[in-house]
């Protein structure tokens, strides 16, 4: 994704090696993806959903005509995505 957009910086963090960072973002399972340090989702998503999550996490409107996913009851700022 970072190769497809010059705006994106992609960081793969070894969760066990940085426990303070993992705690900061409430990592309970992997993969745990955090966008702009304020929105997050857990698990692997299909490509279109991943792109949507990144755009919404970055504050850009969803490019898909579907209604945007609703935030769940979990962590504040957490995005709950399920494959469309």
């Amino acid at each position: 994704m970072a190769l497809a957009s010059p705006q994106i910086k992609a960081i793969c963090v070894e969760a066990n090696e940085f426990p303070q960072l993992s705690n900061q973002f409430r990592v309970r399972g992997v993969p745990h993806t955090v966008i702009n340090r304020r929105a997050a989702f857990v698990g692997a998503l299909p490509e279109p959903d991943f792109v949507t999550a990144v755009l919404e996490g970055a504050g850009v409107a969803s490019p898909h005509p579907d209604p945007p996913p609703q935030a769940g009851e979990g962590v504040e700022g957490e995005i709950n995505y399920s494959p469309r």
Binding site: M1, A2, C12, V30, V54
Partner: protein
């Protein structure tokens, strides 16, 4: 004991020989001389020596295509800030001398090692692998965005 066994090194050499097409620039942000003690964040670096070995392994697998720059964060704080590096070890992968925007923070072993190899190959070939729809959608980004993926070696 070597971090990466010799047969795997040879496989990597052979693979890079056929797969890599363009240049790859690795930047290793590290704190040399750190002990292997696990200390609070910002102090020590138990995996920095292993990360150096891994970065050198990648470079040595295709020295005509891959360059490696080592940044000592304890001596070059300004560079660390400019490049936006949070902690060490971090390996940044780019196609030129600019700091790469694909990064591995921590030692990428286990299931993360193939992801590291894949990243090197994709940067070399400039192949993002995304659909046209995804590329079009991502073009809507007008501000820098950070995608941080937490993973574990197993």
């Amino acid at each position: 004991m070597a971090l990466i066994p010799e047969p795997v090194r040879q496989q990597l050499n052979d693979r890079f020989d056929t797969v890599l097409t363009g240049p790859v620039h690795l930047t290793l942000y590290t704190r040399p001389g750190s002990s292997r003690l696990i200390l609070p964040a910002g102090l020590g670096c138990p995996t920095c020596e292993d990360a150096r070995q891994m970065a050198e392994l990648l470079r040595d697998a295709a020295p005509e295509k891959i360059t490696l720059e080592v940044v000592d964060v304890s001596r070059d704080a300004a560079r660390v800030e400019i490049d936006g590096v949070d902690d060490v070890p971090t390996i940044a992968i780019g196609s030129n001398s600019e700091p790469g925007r694909i990064r591995f923070q921590g030692l990428p072993t286990g299931t993360e090692f193939p992801a590291l190899i894949d990243a090197v190959e994709r940067v070399s070939r400039l192949e993002h692998g995304l659909s046209e729809e995804s590329v079009t959608a991502l073009a809507m980004l007008t501000e820098p965005a950070e995608v941080m993926v937490f993973a574990t070696p197993t």
